[in-house]
């Protein structure tokens, strides 16, 4: 079978060579009339059919040569393509090999689509390109661009995309930390208050001062102190205890009774007095 195929190939190549020679000769001749102007389409179409039957016959080569002189390159290309078709080869292959060769072509729909229709192709390369682009981007966003090791992934200021919500902890360029409540910023007056109310430094977002200016200021948040032996309640601010005059004042300030922290009276007394709440409440009593 392979010898026959080789013979066929040789014959085709011979035909090609002869056709080329004939054509070259024809061009060199001064009279163009003898050379046929253009081969009829029928001859081009018919030619491969003759060659397909060729392996079975041996003799009509001469006749064919005569015909092919009138035929140009296209039929020969077609012939080559025809002979390269896997149809006769497949018959000789075992079934396993056929399955293996069929594997890249999942079914008729895909196999027919992949070579002919560009829409069917290109998903693999597209995925590969997306992969490469993403790898490059991941590398880029992880490259530090200053001496502090800041990279693009962590370069933007926190205010760029904060979710504005109650409980949001914000800090500007100063020391003060604010908590957002009812769209107002409430200053957390002491570190004790900050920790007592369960805030965490990890949750504090450092923002520009201009961002803080967008919000109204609410009442400051104090740590409320009381000792059990005394009825008075004090708000701690800047290390000083501020006496809260009465219950209406306490409630006006937005304080909650459950937020009062109990400490010993000695400890409470040791804190210096600040201005009472309200400031015109008079001299503060000692606990």
């Amino acid at each position: 079978m392979s010898n026959q195929a080789r013979t066929t190939t040789d014959q085709i190549l011979d035909l090609l060579l002869e056709a080329l020679l004939e054509r070259q000769q024809a061009r060199q001749q001064p009279t163009q009339a003898e050379t046929p102007p253009a081969p009829p389409a029928r001859a081009i179409v018919d030619e491969p059919q003759i060659l397909e039957v060729e392996p079975a016959r041996a003799t009509p080569l001469e006749v064919e040569t005569a015909e092919t002189t009138a035929v140009e390159e296209p039929p020969l290309e077609e012939t080559l393509a025809k002979t390269a078709e896997p149809a006769p080869v497949e018959e000789t292959l075992p079934e396993e090999a056929l399955e293996e060769t069929a594997e890249p072509q999942p079914d008729a729909a895909l196999s027919s689509a992949s070579p002919a229709q560009p829409a069917g192709a290109g998903l693999g390369p597209m995925l590969a390109r997306l992969f490469v682009v993403l790898v490059v981007l991941v590398i880029i966003v992880n490259i530090p661009f200053n001496r502090y090791g800041t990279n693009l992934a962590r370069a933007l200021p926190d205010s760029a995309a904060l979710v504005i919500r109650d409980g949001l902890l914000l800090k500007g360029s100063g020391e003060e930390v604010y908590v957002l409540q009812d769209n107002r910023l409430r200053w957390i007056t002491t570190l004790d208050a900050f920790t007592y109310y369960g805030y965490r430094w990890a949750s504090v977002h450092v923002v520009e001062d201009a961002f803080l200016e967008r919000f109204e200021r609410g009442l400051p948040i104090h740590l409320l102190l009381k000792c059990r032996a005394s009825p008075h309640v004090y708000a701690l601010e800047d290390g000083q205890k501020r006496w809260i005059k009465d219950i209406p004042t306490f409630e006006t300030q937005g304080y909650l009774w459950e937020d009062i922290k109990f400490i010993s009276c000695e400890e409470l007394r040791s804190l210096p007095d600040g201005l009472p709440i309200p400031e015109d409440a008079g001299p503060p009593p000692q606990p």
Binding site: L110, L123, L127, F131, R165
Partner: protein, 229 residues
């Protein structure tokens, strides 16, 4: 590049792909292609997620995300296989693994397609809880799509088998819950994948809590109900 051809086949011609799995055509080549592709895609998505914290976290997540999915596959595949056999399926374990790996590959491809979005939010937001929930949502979408592929594949591959078709479907549904449960617990065990901004890089975090309570807590913080520490 040839491995990516398998992905194209899965996405464009899934029926043909599942039929080939049923007939056992090129099963090992398919398994290899899906395995390599999904590892690469998961690793890249993991790197994107981890980039929000640090380079070390990016590398760590790139290694851990493929492990998460493949370990879940390893844990869950025998259950699906033996229950399918009980209900009359004539598939072998390799075919079962190929089907689950198809689902995982689809999940990986969808995650890869979401990677630019994740990268965008990584660059434009610094809210850890939001970023975490965004990723949970993305993983949910990708996981559901993968599981839908698995269901379709199971239907095609087990068509014509003996036993109860309904029973096999029920087994698959239960197995999907199991798969999600094991996957989420596995993710919790080998966390962090993103890395809390206030905590230094750590390869594994101490066990404590569970995946679901953490997600509810994150939801609570993003919606402003309370603050997660």
């Amino acid at each position: 590049m040839q491995d990516l051809g398998v992905i194209e086949q899965i996405l464009r011609n899934r029926t043909g792909f599942f039929t080939e799995i049923k007939e056992g055509v090129g099963l090992h080549a398919k398994l290899r292609a899906m395995l390599l592709s999904s590892i690469a895609f998961f690793a890249l998505y993991g790197a994107v997620m981890g980039s929000t914290h640090s380079l070390w976290q990016a590398l760590s997540s790139a290694a851990k995300l493929p492990v998460l999915f493949l370990a879940t596959l390893f844990v869950c595949a025998p259950t699906l296989y033996f229950f399918n056999v009980l209900f009359g399926s004539n598939q072998n374990l390799t075919q079962n693994v190929a089907l689950i790996l198809t689902a995982i590959t689809v999940t990986a491809v969808i995650l890869l397609s979401f990677a630019p979005i994740t990268l965008f939010f990584l660059l434009t937001t610094s809210q850890y809880q939001f970023f975490k929930l965004l990723n949970v949502a993305i993983f949910s979408v990708a996981g559901v799509m993968g599981v839908l592929f698995l269901a379709q594949g199971m239907r095609i591959v087990s068509a014509g088998s003996d036993g109860s078709e309904r029973g096999r479907r029920r087994v698959l549904q239960l197995w999907m819950f199991l798969y999600a449960f094991v996957g989420s617990q596995m993710a919790w065990t080998i966390r962090p994948f993103i890395g809390a901004p206030s905590i230094k890089f750590e390869l594994f975090r101490q066990l404590g809590g569970n995946f679901y309570t953490n997600i509810f807590a994150s939801l609570g913080e993003v919606l402003g109900f309370f603050i997660v520490g």
